[in-house]
Amino acid sequence: MATEENKSAAAGGGFVYLPLIAGWLVPGAGHFLLRKWGRGALLAASVLGMFVMGLAMHGKLYSGAHDVLDILGLVGDLGNGLLFIVSRALGLGADQVQITTGDYGTRFIVVAGLLNVIAAVDAHNLRTGRKK
């Protein structure tokens, strides 16, 4: 549990939500901003690895929401930040899942986004002093 002194010290100057936003847009960037190089590198490698493997397995990138499951998938995909936006712009990812591994790939991409959100929130907690 962080003390009040730690919290106020960690929450020094600057925009307090910067690590959160940077971490969401670029995996690991929130931790890099806080000079947590090792943690940031591992988080970036994990999220990026999972996302790339999802694409390599012909996973689907959600583009629209036709039902509740599509909405949840799209929310998960959006957690990847710029990875998702750039991949959509480049036309990567399958439009329809046609092979078995494509279904796995779709889940890999969604979970990569969810893990990236967890990592970004962790960077925010480090920034505010809630976590050491």
């Binding site: 943690r39 591992l42 994990s46 690895g49 999972m50």
Partner: protein, 56 residues
């Protein structure tokens, strides 16, 4: 890629993120990451056997 290797890679990546984000000291991060990894893979193997036995 086999189903099992997909499970192992999924468990590996998820466990790394869980370990780093859910614990504060490096030692506890590693311990929690290994714990999550074993739970992921162990659960997958156990559930696979259960489904195999149900389907017989």
């Amino acid at each position: 890629m086999t189903h099992f290797s997909a499970v192992v890679l999924f468990a590996l990546f998820a466990s790394i993120v869980f370990g780093i984000t859910q614990r504060e000291t490096p030692r506890r991060m590693i311990r929690y990451g290994v714990y999550c990894f074993l739970l992921f893979v162990g659960s997958a193997i156990a559930l696979s056997w259960i489904m195999y036995l149900i389907a017989r």
